[in-house]
Amino acid sequence: MNFSLGFFTVAVFGAIALALIAAVFLPVLFVRDARKKRLW
């Protein structure tokens, strides 16, 4: 029994989407902490 094309597609595209969101989210979080002077 094989993993389906649908599962494979969702896993790959889901992971890329999550990583892209994280790449945007981290700098946003950084700026928010910096504004509140809560980086360190």
């Binding site: 094989n2 993993f3 597609t9 994280a22 950084f30 902490d33 360190w40």
Partner: protein, 483 residues
């Protein structure tokens, strides 16, 4: 494409290596100015916020293995290999509530070994220190060797020069900036890695469709799509438990729990797990895409860079070089800082420098960082290939520490002799399994034996513990000294 030759021109490789070295050391010096006292140097002032706390956990957990081994894992173990690798993120998720508890129980704590000493006594502390330092140094050696090997494979930079440079750069900026420098550079490194793997994956998908990749696998390598691939399913448990053991016991993660501001640890580790989770899948996907791209894989460990070089040319090779450098540096600097804290706080301070001033201890700390760097370098120079595999021995050892740590943090009646027996019997059982059955079952057995011992001894021989003793300072008496 000849994948045996370097992907990058050596001149470009040297320029990149020099530029990255100058940037990282410069940032270390810049952030190092904040480390005005010992607490700043060791724990970044115990006030790290959510953004930097999250990023440092992500970057540290992304080693060169995550970006380089995940494609190889997927190529050899298929879709399960890709998914198995991402289960290592469970360690970050499960450590999130523990980070908060650690911070609450030990607001003035420094290391994981200090917790074991105060919770279970000196004998358990000794065993734990051996496991922790063995694991730390083997991880450092595997990263140092990986650095040299990858720099050589990617850009033709001779092994010794590449390995020496990356170790030296990490030692220098950790030396100047302590945990401030480590956490600051980790933020940049985690972002570079996230963007880098996404760019390469999107470039792959614009070259060949996901349908074609799937069809190619179905036609030529159907085992890689098999839901019931036994070796891959076993790898899931081993990877997950190795990850749990590593994160639960290692001072790399405890020092960050101590360094984060109150209320940040749980959120930071939870978010880090979520951010880390897709990385092995995205990187692993590159391995599965290789056959559809017509790449003939002679070296599975180089499949990720070869795919990047094939779809993006020189730019892809440069990107991979930067991502690999960032992955290596983010782990080596964290190990240097955490191991030096362990040696300084739990060995030097206990044995030789009980009454030393902060300034004297900081100088000791710097000497320890240089010492660890030097030992790692000396072991890495001969490039003994089998040394890298020593890291796998550590799997059952760290697996055996999972239950003593959990019970010690949450169960007031955990038995201290049980914790000692759990680490010893778990390690022994795991190592026997490693040699008689295989690596894939070693962590599982080590953890299972340890769990049984901890649960049985706590159930049938409970010992009461006063949680307040964990916040009694570095020279506090242990539970056995009180008893």
């Amino acid at each position: 494409m000849n994948e045996a030759s370097a992907l990058l021109d050596p001149t470009i490789g040297w320029i990149l290596l020099a530029a990255l070295s100058v940037i990282w050391v410069g940032l270390g010096v810049y952030w190092g100015r904040k480390a005005s006292n010992l607490e700043g140097f060791m724990l970044a002032g115990r006030n790290v916020g959510l953004a930097l706390g999250t990023a440092t956990a992500v970057a540290t957990w992304i080693t060169s293995n995550t970006t380089m081994l995940a494609p190889q894992f997927a190529l050899q173990l298929g879709v399960w290999g890709m998914l198995a690798y991402c289960t290592a993120s469970f360690g970050l998720f499960l450590f999130a509530p523990m980070a908060e508890r650690i911070r609450a129980l030990m607001p003035n704590g420094y290391t994981s070994a200090e917790f074991v000493r105060l919770r279970y006594g000196n004998f358990a502390w000794g065993i734990f220190l051996v496991i922790s330092l063995f694991y730390g140094i083997t991880w450092m050696i595997s990263m140092g060797m990986a650095g040299g090997i990858l720099m050589e494979a990617l850009a033709g930079i001779p092994y010794v020069y590449g390995m020496t440079t990356i170790l030296l750069v990490c030692v220098l900026y950790t030396l100047f900036g302590g945990l401030f420098a480590v956490i600051g550079t980790d933020f940049i490194q985690s972002w570079i890695i996230l963007v880098g793997v996404c760019v390469v994956a999107i470039a792959v998908l614009s070259t060949v469709s996901i349908d074609e990749i799937y069809a190619n696998l179905e036609r030529n390598r159907p085992a890689l799509l098999d839901v019931l691939f036994p070796a891959a399913i076993m790898a899931i448990f081993n990877n997950m438990l190795f990850g749990l053991g590593e994160i639960f016991h290692s001072n790399v993660w405890w020092s960050r729990a101590f360094a984060m501001r109150e209320g940040v640890g749980r959120k930071a580790y939870g978010l880090a797990g979520l951010i880390w989770l897709p990385i092995p899948i995205v990187a692993g996907f590159l391995g599965l895409a290789a056959p559809a791209l017509g790449i003939n894989i002679a070296r599975p460990d180089m499949v990720g860079p070869v795919v990047a070089g094939t779809v993006l040319g020189t730019f892809g090779a440069v990107l991979v070089f930067v991502v690999v450098f960032a992955s290596l540096a983010s782990s080596i600097d964290s190990l240097l800082a955490a191991m030096s804290d362990l040696v300084l706080n739990d060995f030097v301070k206990q044995m030789f420098a009980r009454d030393a001033s902060d300034e004297q201890l900081r100088r000791w700390g710097m000497a320890v960082i240089i010492g660890i760097g030097l030992i790692t370098w000396l072991i890495c120079v001969p490039r003994v290939g089998t040394l890298a595999s020593v890291l796998f021995f550590a799997g059952p050892l760290v697996g055996s520490a999972i239950w003593p740590i959990i019970a010690g943090l949450y169960w007031q009646h955990a038995n201290r002799h049980g914790a000692v027996a759990a680490m010893l019997l778990g390690s022994a059982g795991g190592l026997i399994t490693y040699f008689t059955v295989g690596w894939y079952a070693a962590s599982l057995i080590g953890t299972a034996v340890s769990m049984v011992v901890v649960v049985v001894t706590t159930r049938f021989a409970p010992q009461s513990f006063d949680w307040a003793r964990l916040d009694a300072g570095p020279h506090a008496t242990t539970s056995e000294e009180v008893a």
